[in-house]
């Protein structure tokens, strides 16, 4: 069923339609939330809240104005920002060390993994220190595949402001990669 049909069914209180929507959209929503929040605990809370809002506010979605995925990402973005401001979270993830351990587990080659670990650690640190607007812009455009116009709509900013945010983010991350240990060794 199309999203519009499913949402009409949710408006009537059909749980089966709601479950289909959860299965279809949860992966993208949870990954987006994780890229902003940086830890699984907050990601779980925000994802749950997003889908509760979908259930409660289903009739407020207008298919003529935006796609359902855009609407859901907007909800998630607003929840993430509220969460970050409310709890005044450090830009570093609370479970930063857990993130690093997760990165290491994915490496098969031990020799390669040491160089990659330094590079990934540096990149992760740089990513976590970005302002949430830049993290969000990067997550929407690079990872989620939204166009600049859709991403700007999700973040409720102009396209110019979005492009500025994503430019600054990439500039900062490029600088980190240029200064990464294996790059410095190559130059030497």
């Amino acid at each position: 069923m199309e999203d519009e049909e499913l949402m009409n069914a949710v408006c009537k209180g059909e749980h089966a339609a709601y479950q289909q929507l959860v299965k279809a959209h949860l992966p993208s929503i949870s990954k987006y939330a994780y890229r902003i929040m940086g830890n699984q605990s907050d990601t779980n809370d925000i994802t749950q809240e997003t889908f509760i809002k979908l259930w409660v506010n289903a009739e407020r979605w207008d298919p003529k104005k935006s796609k359902l995925t855009t609407w859901l990402h907007r909800i998630t973005h607003n929840l993430c920002i509220d969460h970050l401001r409310k709890w005044r979270k450090n830009k570093f993830s609370e479970n930063f060390e857990e993130d690093i351990a997760d990165q290491e587990l994915t490496r098969d080659n031990e020799i390669e993994s040491n160089e990659l670990n330094d590079k990934i650690q540096d990149l992760l640190i740089a990513l976590r220190t970005l302002p949430e607007s830049q993290r969000s812009a990067l997550a929407l455009c690079h990872y989620s595949g939204f166009s600049n116009k859709e991403a700007a709509s999700i973040m409720n900013i102009s396209v110019k402001a979005l492009e500025s945010a994503i430019s600054r983010a990439k500039r900062s991350l490029r600088k980190t990669l240029m200064n990464a240990p294996n790059n410095e060794n190559d130059k030497a």
Partner: protein, 151 residues
């Protein structure tokens, strides 16, 4: 196209040609093919994107069950909730501004109707004789001698 413009496009749109502005795509491809600096720039951005894609994101398959099993609030929209949704529809739509404006006028209309039809113990009727008595008192208090001084 300059290298700075190319860098700007890579920052805003990435290295995926499907995301480049359609009217500049041919220009970008030509520059990358011919200019060493442009090629190096593209490689830098590809490396960045490759590194970003290597960052680990956990699998949220367990979360799906949690979300599916969570208790959802009841979806019984009361008349009041339906009225509020009608009064303040979603989206910034100036065409629907008349709804809250009309709602804001209701107390005014109510007050005017009430005031027109109910006196609430205030008696504004009067005897004609009382009116003339008041007029005579006011005339008596008037100082006619002022006219002799201000000619």
């Amino acid at each position: 196209m300059t290298i700075e413009e190319l860098e700007n496009i890579f920052e805003n749109c990435g290295t995926n040609p499907t995301r480049w502005p359609a009217n500049r795509k041919a220009e970008i491809e030509r520059l990358i093919a011919l200019d060493q600096q442009a090629m190096k720039l593209e490689q830098e951005f590809r490396n960045l994107e490759k590194s970003l894609n290597q960052l680990y994101v956990p699998d949220f398959s367990e979360l799906e069950q949690v979300v599916l099993n969570q208790n959802l609030p009841p979806r019984t929209d009361s008349f009041f909730e339906k009225f509020l949704n009608w009064l303040f529809p979603a989206g910034n739509n100036f065409k629907n501004l008349w709804r809250p404006a009309a709602a804001a006028c209701i107390p005014l209309i109510f007050g005017a109707t009430l005031g027109n039809n109910f006196a609430f113990g205030i008696d504004i009727s009067f005897e004609e004789n009382e009116y003339w008595e008041d007029q005579l008192i006011i005339l008596a208090l008037y100082d006619y001698s002022e006219e002799f001084f201000y000619d």
